[in-house]
Symmetry: C2
Subunit: 228 residues, 2 copies
């Protein structure tokens, strides 16, 4: 599953003289990417991944149907590749947030703003993750769940290191809290991406609601006392 790299090590005199580099494996990965992008694009047009067909995707990618098999055994395998890609996108979100640091005056509102901008920048990936998280095939749901759990744990770790919450919270508790935060934000992503365009008013209300929800969660977190 991970490490489909072959070894492809030696790399003799491959990408030699012309501008467009041409080593074979690279070309392969490129059209593989074309397939993934085609799937995402179709989802962007309102289709759900589950309803996509192999032929539809190769058509969109400008390939002949049978080429599909050179890259994926079936649609489920392509879906798993998309999950992996999406997982990477999630990590990058945390990494960037960590680097930039959050606005200190209103951490939560700032975070939500940054988050939603990020969601929009990668809206196809989020469309896929949020849409298939509960509706997709068993294998894909499972994979997404794993990815989201990892994300949650990383977030918990970050919060601990940045001391954003009282540090007497047990690790389990912290994870539980982050689970709530993450599911809320995935929910938010789904709602926002589903909004009819150019509805600034509705959008603002939605955002404000999610800001409040997160405020509530963090308020609860600061008051939390471990059970007896």
């Amino acid at each position: 599953m991970a490490g489909t790299e072959k070894k492809r090590g030696s790399a003799t005199a491959a990408q030699a003289h012309e501008g467009t580099l041409i080593t074979r494996g690279e070309r392969k990965q490129r059209t593989r990417g074309t397939l993934l992008d085609a799937a995402l694009k179709l989802m962007g047009e309102g289709r759900s991944f589950t309803s996509l067909g192999l032929r539809e995707i190769t058509r969109e990618a400008g390939l002949v149907p049978t080429s599909f098999y050179r890259h994926f055994r079936d649609m489920d395998e392509l879906g798993l590749a998309l999950v992996e890609e999406g997982g990477l996108t999630l990590r990058r979100l945390l990494r960037e947030a960590r680097k930039d640091g959050m606005p200190v005056d209103d951490i939560i509102r700032g975070s939500v703003r940054v988050y939603l901008q990020y969601v929009r920048e990668h809206h196809l990936q989020f469309l896929f993750i949020v849409g298939e998280r509960m509706g997709g095939s068993a294998a894909i749901r499972r994979a997404i769940r794993t990815e989201v759990t990892h994300f949650t744990n990383e977030m918990a770790q970050d919060i601990q290191q940045l001391r954003l919450l009282p540090r007497e919270l047990a690790t389990n508790t912290l994870q539980m809290i982050c689970g709530l935060v993450v599911s809320t934000m995935l929910n938010a992503a789904g709602d926002i991406l589903d909004l009819p365009p150019k509805q600034a008013q509705l959008e603002h209300e939605l955002i404000e609601q999610y800001v409040q929800q997160l405020r509530l969660v963090f308020l609860g977190a600061t008051q939390w006392r471990e059970k007896a």
Copy 2:
């Protein structure tokens, strides 16, 4: 959409003498139900609604494909009927909870237990609602959202009447809180229904996590102060 009742009022000598009542409209609604059940059953076997076909459903229902059109214009319309059915199931949940009253010693854990039992009793409906809430067709997502919003508002009303939270909370705030509660419980339903069977350990941990999350939310709610 609502009120497909025709008038069917007069009801001459219809359900006359035999045990099985046979009035025409009744028969129709019965096979209509068979179609809905067939769709739900197929989902229960791991398929997602979006991936179901009209033929598949009539086959499962023991009908010929063309009969489908006597009841629904297309799959989307059947989906909307399922949403309506699901919405009804949600209301019943609130109604029963209201009637039974909650255990006073540990309201939250009790509620979660009752809720999850209810989810299991109607697992097909929840499978559908939770699964298509973010992944289905635009029309279906919209309908589910409406239904969930209504549910949320009813819940807010109940909480207010039962004085389960400090009554100085603004209506908006209360709805915001209930929104968080509802999305958390839908999330819970999705997780629980996706659990491999006979995994009592995992299940218990999951439940405990959701109990804690709701505790956190209510803790935050009792501490909430309206913004300036």
